[in-house]
Subunit: 259 residues, 2 copies
Amino acid sequence: MRILVCNDDGIESNGIFALAEALKEIGEVTVIAPLIEQSAVGHAITMQIPLRVTESFKNGKFFGYAVSGTPADCVKIGIRNILKETPDLVVSGINHGSNTAINIIYSGTVSAAREAAIMDVPSMAVSITSHFATDFRFAGKMSRMLALKIVKEGLPIGTLLNVNVPDLPEEKISGIVLTRQGKSKWDDIYEERKDPQGKNYYWLTGNLMEVDNELNIDQHAVRNNYVSVSPIHFDLTDYETYNKMKSWKIEEMLNGKNH
Amino acid sequence: MRILVCNDDGIESNGIFALAEALKEIGEVTVIAPLIEQSAVGHAITMQIPLRVTESFKNGKFFGYAVSGTPADCVKIGIRNILKETPDLVVSGINHGSNTAINIIYSGTVSAAREAAIMDVPSMAVSITSHFATDFRFAGKMSRMLALKIVKEGLPIGTLLNVNVPDLPEEKISGIVLTRQGKSKWDDIYEERKDPQGKNYYWLTGNLMEVDNELNIDQHAVRNNYVSVSPIHFDLTDYETYNKMKSWKIEEMLNGKNH
């Protein structure tokens, strides 16, 4: 099995090193990741400037390819130009911090896996709940087990798994649950400061407003020490509203009958 | 009606000027847009560096607020810090180039409107099919008519409209259709070049592979000179796969029974 490993924290992060090590036990791993941290870049792709690709080393040994772009760029250029063959699986992570509920929208980690799904390659994003995690053993084990599970069961074209693992040793994990995306979101605060020249600048900060309270919802699952596994896709159509909007009769708007 | 106008092409673009002018006829417009073009940044938000906000002028008159960040940043800081009251509507555009099918995922224009939906504010993204459009009269008229329609009919919390308008005069428009997101996507090509120092760099280019062939699909609609109106949301859960994955029995994976 050929596995492309990517992330959004950058090729130097501990999470991607742990992920690559964990997956080497089950396949041939190629690491292709951003040169510089790309957290919260969403599904950005680089079109205004060209990309550079350089080799990256760890402990004096070749570790992978660093791309001067976003997580989605890494998967695109990785599959199109760097790898000789399309990989069997793309795994993105291990992200430092949860990618549950609304964070899925902002996440570069999830977007890298989603780009793979767009390119018809099975994929998975893996995150650990703490930004300060240092022990990736259980998250690495879960990544390996779920990678094998994806290969065994198969995922529909265009669907990826979004996995969130509590930052706990295995014996403290409550279990694994199949989940859907929660509705918790951020109460944003822009902290206003003044620079040495007296001009204003703003830092984004805020608090996650937790509204999810069922075990089959990602944010509630990790909050209760469960590993959360959600299938997600990139069809954003709101079919329920689509059906309701038939009563709007928008096709008549230009006739002057309906406005 | 108080309307926040945003885009991803930047505050200097012709499309946002046309949109602001069109919407001034039906409400009080505040323009809050990126200082620099942000095409294809997806739902990126700025967290690694602080934001700056400056006033922007056109023809010697105050036009709006320029934010040193992404389209989603503009909506967040606009609603949280710049505006005194939450707007009644956010309209993002008029984008130069279609945001149909897979482009919705990459689009900063759509992400700005989506950020408004996340903040519970009704919203709409408007794009014109040509990157080189110069006549925004019909797209402006459609924006105004659909803005009034949203206010009249109401949109569910978390749902936004994604509108694509052919770059044609009104008499050549076939009609308006309610659509869903298409499956057309890019065949990416990274064009390799050498810089003056002889080092490689890569430009992203490619061709849209059109697979959509029904009038109620966004890409096919605009291709046939229809205005396309799609309701989209930000729940990425793939419910069909969610139901199918119950047979995976992932909750048993740690018991050693299922791997």
